[in-house]
């Protein structure tokens, strides 16, 4: 679900730290260094990288617009190849039959079956196209706040890992405790009481 979709999901983060000036160039170059790679026709079954908001299938941060108003807008792209189990089974069965015919053996050892499966999977990964999943990212740099347009666990984990690798800045997911602790609205005694809270029961 993208930012301009009729229905949006938002996971919110606090960004800790600042980048080297000039910020726009630093961000554009960092994104370019970790741009999504093309895995079609290659063995890897998954690729995670950045892409452009407006042209997610032709990532280009240096010439396409990265700044919209006070925000940096780009996208996280996760490309995955999914081979249906049935397809793997079918190809393995054919390969195993060929191997039995070639060697004249009655059975294949477990290790041999494993080798055939790995070979089959590798062959299929070369031919199967990756499905791209695009999750828009909005970074309000001055406010130190970032939104990911997805609440999927996999997308959020991929963002946290890739963001740190790209910018060497930590993302803190805003959930009730972090929002309370980082909101700046609690006094020191209130913060101490927050740490000591225990669940409330409405039963009875």
């Amino acid at each position: 679900m993208g930012l301009l979709s009729s229905s949006v999901a938002l996971a919110r983060y606090r960004v800790e730290g600042k980048l080297e000036e000039p910020v726009l160039e630093t961000i554009a170059e960092s994104l370019q260094r970790h741009v999504i790679g093309d895995i079609d026709g290659n063995v890897p079954e998954k690729a995670v990288g950045w892409t452009s908001f407006e042209t997610p299938y032709r990532p280009d941060f240096l010439s396409s617009s990265l700044v919209i108003g006070a925000y940096f807008v780009f996208a996280l792209r996760v490309d995955k190849k999914a081979i249906p189990r049935g397809v793997i089974r079918k190809h393995c069965a054919a390969e195993e039959a060929r191997e039995l015919a070639r060697t004249g053996a009655r059975y294949l050892a477990r290790e041999e079956k494993r080798r055939i499966r790995a070979q089959v999977e590798e062959g299929l990964l070369l031919t199967i196209p990756a499905t791209p999943n695009i999750f828009d990212v909005v970074w309000h740099y001055e406010a130190g706040e970032l939104w990911l347009c997805s609440t999927l666990k996999e997308a959020n984990e991929a963002l946290e890992t890739l963001f740190y690798r790209t910018f060497r800045l930590s993302l803190i997911r805003l959930f009730p405790f972090t929002l309370a602790a980082l909101s700046g609205t609690l006094s020191s005694p209130e913060h101490d009481r927050l740490l000591a809270l225990t669940p409330t029961s409405l039963k009875g």
Partner: protein, 177 residues
């Protein structure tokens, strides 16, 4: 600050308490909601409530949804010790309407439908459309933040135990099942 993963697990209950309080405040303390919305709009509970009872292991989940959902069942779950894990809300301000679900554990916004804006018909219109959409999303995010700040200030005060919890218990007890 505590390790984020530790804090997430240890204080996960805060999200459920927030959403339960929010439902209570919408029904019984409209002035709190009005103040959080800075008198600009009206917040109401939508057509989906998910409740979780952590007193039972594994935790029991009850989902009530649909246009004519019987919220009495949700009240019954509250009476048995459940709290709200997910809440669909409707926010109206002037001619504008927002619909969204809030998840207690993460405070993530899901299924956020903002007021309709003009369709993007050419690449030149993208920037304007993004800014408009961000402004509309921001409106709800700031409302949630404002509500949450009110909740957390109350939660760490004595008023929570002395006034709010008895008030919420009375609200649950008085609900028609």
């Amino acid at each position: 600050m505590l390790d984020v993963a530790v804090a997430y697990s240890r204080y996960r209950f805060l999200g459920a308490e927030f959403l339960t309080w929010l439902w209570y405040a919408v029904e019984r303390e409209p002035e709190t909601i009005k103040a959080a919305a800075m008198d600009r709009g009206v917040l109401t509970v939508g057509d989906r409530v998910v409740l979780e009872n952590s007193l039972h292991q594994p935790a029991e989940r009850v989902t009530i949804s649909g246009e004519n959902a019987d919220l009495g069942e949700a009240m019954l779950a509250l009476k048995k010790g459940a709290l709200v894990a997910e809440l669909r809300l409707h926010y109206g301000a002037g001619d504008h309407d927002w619909r969204f679900s809030l998840k207690g554990d993460t405070l993530a916004l899901m299924g956020l439908k903002t007021p309709r804006s003009a369709p993007v018909e050419s690449p030149d219109e993208v920037e304007g459309a993004v800014l408009e959409k961000l402004g509309l999303c921001e409106e709800v995010v700031r409302l949630v933040d404002s509500l949450f700040v009110r909740f957390i200030k109350l939660r760490v005060s004595e008023r929570w135990r002395e006034e709010t919890v008895p008030g919420m218990k009375a609200w649950v007890k008085a609900a028609r099942l």
